[in-house]
């Protein structure tokens, strides 16, 4: 089991849904996808690098051989995969505090979902439906989601400064450099140790 790599935690969860409810959730995902403003809280949480929900209809579990026993499920299933920075408790607390409406909208169609507030029942539910990761890889284990966002901002600002630098007078360059430092300074944090997560 390896839920952690560097500053990232891999969470997997699976919840059962009555098949007729699946269609409602598909519609909700469709709307969430197309109305970008509805994703603002997810973006603003800023400690999720990638996350996804995957609906598996009960009759769509892959069947690869006649020797394989066919699944005989009554429920469709909702899989959730998240890659986040910080601890499990911090993540669930933040989800519950910031995204409670959105989470309820997505998970209320799953059986026995207690709601994301109060957080105690929500944590018990997530702990019950979570299953562990056996192998977890990240290309940049030293970086958080905020680090990667910040790094790309620095590169964009640096490219602009570098494109002008050769043709400017030293005084012009100094002024542009100062503006660059002012713009980039909030995005120059070091990639230090992650906070303890166990």
């Amino acid at each position: 089991m390896s839920n952690i790599n560097g500053k990232l935690y891999a969470m997997n969860a699976i919840t059962p849904m009555k098949p007729w409810k699946t269609w409602i959730l598909r519609l909700i995902f469709f709307l969430l996808w197309h109305i970008k403003s509805k994703q603002a809280d997810l973006i603003n949480l800023s400690f999720i690098q990638f996350a996804r929900w995957v609906i598996i209809p009960r009759n769509r579990f892959p069947s690869l051989s006649s020797d394989q026993k066919q699944e005989t499920l009554k429920y469709d299933y909702l899989l959730f995969f998240s890659n986040f920075n910080g601890t499990w408790n911090q993540y669930i607390d933040a989800f519950s505090d910031v995204l409670s409406d959105g989470l309820n909208l997505i998970w209320r169609w799953s059986e026995k979902f207690p709601g994301s507030v109060p957080v105690t029942g929500f944590k018990e539910y997530i702990a019950r439906v979570q299953f562990d990761t056996d192998y977890y890889y990240t290309s940049y284990p030293q970086a958080t989601a905020n680090d990667t966002k910040a790094a790309h901002i620095v590169v964009a600002a640096l490219d602009t400064l570098a494109a002008q630098a050769e043709t400017q007078t030293p005084e012009q360059f100094q002024a542009a450099y100062l503006q660059f430092v002012l713009a980039a300074q909030a995005n120059l944090g070091g990639l230090g140790e992650a906070p303890a997560v166990f």
Binding site: I14, V54, R60, A127, S139, L158
Partner: protein
């Protein structure tokens, strides 16, 4: 609403694991055993092959019973879940993996039902397509940068911070000259290797509710 967000792909696979009562240890345990010894740093198959931001493999033993009045039901097979966040769609991504780390793919997926091996790419592609589940909603914090671009950006960020700290109060002429030298040096640097630089951490469990 698909497997793609910007230029990043979120691919999800559910591969049924062989259910052979005569196998000892069972195939799911053999997968877990192999994965537990697989390098998660620079020697990872996903670091050696191109284009993986993050990836995970998990053996899903069963669906989860959430309690009455829900119906208790069970899977007939265990499944290997493969979830990857990568820079290309299935075919080029899979071609990159096969081109770089065939032995690892075979060692893991040989325990899965219907796995054809890497030798015949078209059969492998058909197998992976049969195992693929369309992602319903895919979120990416940064959705327009490749793995090399992000690695270079992180390297650049650190170098710029050091440059700024060491060039405070410098005269304009010298500052401009040293900045141009710095840019030239920075652009001559090889991109950092993927999968390295993480905090040293002996324990990687990070279980539930901690």
């Amino acid at each position: 609403m698909s497997n793609q967000n910007g230029s990043v792909y979120g691919l999800t696979f559910l591969c049924p694991i062989l259910n052979d009562a005569a196998a000892s240890p069972s195939h799911d345990l053999q997968i877990r055993n192999y994965l537990s010894k697989l390098d998660t740093g620079a020697g990872s198959p996903f670091a050696i092959a191109p284009g993986t931001h993050l990836a995970r493999l998990a053996v899903m033993d069963d669906v989860i019973y959430v309690g009455s009045p829900a119906i208790e039901e069970h899977l007939q097979s265990k499944y290997l879940v493969f979830e990857t966040n990568c820079d290309s769609d299935l075919e080029p991504y899979l071609r990159g993996l096969v081109g770089a780390v065939t032995s690892h793919i075979d060692a893991i997926w040989q325990h899965c039902t219907g796995y054809p091996g890497c030798a015949d790419f078209s059969r492998l592609l058909a197998y992976m397509k049969a195992c693929q589940i369309t992602t319903s909603f895919f979120f990416a914090a940064v959705n327009n940068k490749t793995v090399p671009q992000t690695l270079v950006a992180l390297q650049t960020q650190q170098a710029v911070a050091q440059f700024i700290a060491s060039h405070q109060g410098m005269e304009p002429v010298q500052l401009q000259r040293e900045f141009l030298d710095f840019i030239q040096w920075l652009r001559s640097q090889p991109p950092p290797a993927p999968g390295v630089g993480g905090p040293l951490r002996a324990i990687q469990t990070g279980g539930h509710n901690e």
